[in-house]
């Protein structure tokens, strides 16, 4: 599944809230089939970067390219068209609380496809089954647990079979077994659908288990200070900030030569 063509290109991106710059001069590419990890300490602007990538916040400077098309500097209709290829799982799931899980997942289906009612129901059941929530069609988000909400959010993000799937902290707040299952799910989605996955996380286990490429944001330098596959970074990086992050603060204890799980 690994190709070499880049799906997303970020050029000279500067993120800011008003005049307060969060990250500046970000340049990176995401290739098709990557599981691309955006990592960094709390408050360094990972989620803000995600908000910019999915077109919810306008960058102060620079642009994002989906294939050859620009995300900013085009009309909002074109941007909307572009983002039709994208699915997003927000940190808390962000399911619409006034609708059942089935209605949540059917929402994009009804608007952007010509499926019949029966086909729509089948699609909804299929998506819910993929995330292990068969039979929960008529539950409201408030009636299920946080982990289930997150999985339902993933089902909704995948509703339109997006080429690119953004995940904001997918395994945060999940127990280790659920987190492991979610990792496997993400990996098999990539393998079977050929989707490109970009995830914001600081869950080291996930990063090493499934991440194929990564970018490390630093809040002091206000820019990305490392690129590469997580394992590679652990082995070859000399930057103490990166090493400290990847080894839970104890670079000396890490097994830098061997495999890391």
């Amino acid at each position: 599944m690994m190709g070499t063509d880049s799906v997303i290109k970020v050029r000279d991106l500067t993120l800011a809230y008003g005049d307060f710059v969060i990250q500046k001069d970000l340049n990176f590419e995401v290739r098709r089939g990557d599981i691309f990890v955006i990592m960094g300490g709390s408050g360094c602007g990972k989620s803000t970067l995600l908000m910019h990538l999915i077109g919810l916040q306008k960058p102060l400077h620079g642009d994002i390219f989906y294939g050859k098309e620009r995300l900013w500097g085009v009309s909002s209709e074109q941007r909307e068209q572009l983002l039709r290829r994208v699915g997003v799982l927000f940190q808390s799931g962000a399911l619409l609380s006034s609708m059942t899980l089935a209605e949540n997942i059917a929402l994009p289906l009804r608007e952007f496809t010509a499926l019949s009612k029966k086909e729509m129901n089948q699609t909804v059941s299929y998506k819910l089954a993929l995330v292990g929530l068969s039979g929960f069609e008529n539950y409201y988000p408030s009636e299920i647990s946080g982990g289930m909400q997150k999985r339902a959010g993933l089902a909704r993000a995948m509703a339109l079979d997006p080429e690119i799937l953004y995940l904001d902290e997918p395994s945060a707040g999940l127990d280790p077994i659920s987190a492991q299952l979610l990792d496997e799910l993400i990996q098999s989605l990539r393998d079977s659908l050929g989707a490109t996955i970009i995830m914001v996380t600081h869950e080291l286990a996930s990063i090493f288990a499934i991440g194929t490429h990564s970018i490390f944001l630093d809040s002091e330098a206000k820019t990305a200070i490392a690129f590469g596959s997580p394992e590679e970074l652990l082995k070859t990086s000399h930057d103490p900030r990166v090493l400290k992050f990847l080894t839970r603060g104890h670079p000396e204890r890490a097994d830098r030569g061997g495999h890391h799980e």
Partner: protein, 424 residues
């Protein structure tokens, strides 16, 4: 550390004395049938030593600080922490301070804040401080609290703003508010256009749910309020009219007052409190949960998906509620007129139908629709503007109601003025 928590003592000597003289012997009395020793396993201290410290010096440049007593928060009143400034004044820079905790009883964060304070003062005065004599737990906590250096730009609200700055800021926020409101109204208008051309993206079921929530569910409260307003109008008017023996004109007063003014106004105020606040709270909560962001990513705009059904629902429902309110008000007035002022039913009905013209009705209905739009705009605008916290949702609901009522009253005055000028 567990012993520090369980052994929080009583600060007052008297209390300890009372326990030791009265309670304790009674509890320990073998003959006492009420208590057995096993059922009372907490050991209460008989006397709690107050926290104290003393500074000893063996050498001009070598001091020892001894802590004594129980350094727990419940003892806080007995010690003045400011005293440490006097202590550091005794020390000379370049010296060395050791800490002695052998006389220390139980301790908690109260001791820690004192230690942190002393360490800070010593650093300021270039005094070497020896913390290795501290027990392991204490040393670890001290180390932990100084592990991450304070971020210089992290503290907030240091400098006091001058009144001019504050005035400028509030003026600017009013201006921005107006700017965003205009933007919001523009977006909602575009959504209306999209609706007319069939391009608006929203679920028709949401419209029905909103109509249900705004309309039929509001009937009981509208009934009650309108009936009572009609009653009040009738009573207030009747007392004056009775002076001229013109009680019959209660019918004119009540029916005109309700249809032209009070029906619309009361309904609008009820709906501002009921639906306006609900809109703001719903959309504010959706904002907090990132639901609105999720909608936007899926290609729905908040103005189509959320504002449109709410606005339409209020515009459709308000005239009917207003009409109903008029009717209830007139019935209320009728009850007063008929039962208290002995006006025959037929005469009341006749006067009412003679005094109220179709124009009056339509003015009332027009106002209702207008108020419906205003309530929906204020409610949805405050909801979308809402910040991402629980208190922000509360503020959004409050300011939605306030904004709606201001809008309603101002709009009502303008409409009344225009009608007056036009002579209708």
């Amino acid at each position: 550390m567990a012993h520090c928590i369980s052994n929080v003592g009583f600060p007052r000597d008297e209390l300890a004395e009372f326990f030791s003289l009265r309670v304790w012997p009674w509890l320990l009395d073998d003959q006492n049938p009420c208590v057995s020793w096993q059922s009372f396993p907490i050991s209460l201290p008989l006397k709690v030593p107050h926290p104290s410290w003393k500074l000893e010096s063996t050498d001009p440049l070598l001091w020892q600080l001894c802590f004594e007593g129980d350094w727990v928060m419940s003892n806080a009143s007995t010690l003045n922490a400011e005293d440490f400034s006097e202590m550091t004044a005794c020390l000379r820079s370049g010296g060395r301070l050791t800490l002695d905790v052998t006389g220390l009883g139980v301790w908690d964060s109260y001791l820690m804040i004192a230690l942190i304070d002393i360490v800070k003062r010593c650093h300021e005065h270039q005094i070497a401080i020896e913390t290795s004599t501290l027990p392991e737990g204490m040393g670890a906590l001290l180390h932990l609290s100084s592990l991450v250096p304070e971020r210089t730009d992290a503290r907030k609200g240091g400098a006091q703003k001058t009144w001019l700055e504050r005035l400028g800021e509030s003026a600017r926020s009013v201006w921005l508010d107006g700017f965003f409101l205009t933007q919001f109204i523009g977006e909602s208008a575009l959504s209306m256009v999209a609706l007319m051309t069939g391009r608006a993206r929203f679920r028709p079921i949401d419209l029905w749910l909103q109509i249900q929530a705004c309309g039929p569910s509001a009937l009981p409260i509208v009934t009650l309020i309108s009936l009572l307003v009609g009653l009040i109008l009738a009573f207030v008017g009747a007392v004056q009219l009775a002076l001229f023996g013109a009680e019959l004109y209660i019918a004119d007063l009540v029916s005109l007052g309700m249809t032209r003014e009070m029906g619309a106004l009361m309904t609008a105020i009820i709906m501002a409190g009921r639906s306006g606040a609900a809109f703001a709270a719903q959309m504010g909560t959706m904002n907090v949960n990132l639901e609105i962001s999720a909608l936007r990513v899926m290609g729905f705009t908040a103005s189509d998906f959320l504002v449109l059904p709410r606005m339409l629902a209020l515009i459709l429902v308000m005239p009917f509620l207003g009409l109903y309110s008029d009717l209830m008000g007139i019935i209320g007035g009728g009850i007063v007129a008929i039962s208290f002022f002995d006006i025959p039913v037929t005469q009341f009905i006749q006067r009412t139908s003679e005094s109220v013209h179709l124009t009056d009705f339509f003015i009332g209905l027009f106002k209702c629709s207008l108020f419906g739009v205003l309530i929906a705009v204020a409610g949805c605008f405050r909801g979308i503007q809402c910040g991402r916290s629980a208190s922000a949702v509360g503020e959004a609901a409050t300011s939605a109601v306030v904004t709606s009522i201001v809008f309603i009253v101002v709009a009502d005055s303008v409409v009344t003025l225009i009608c007056n000028r036009l002579g209708i």
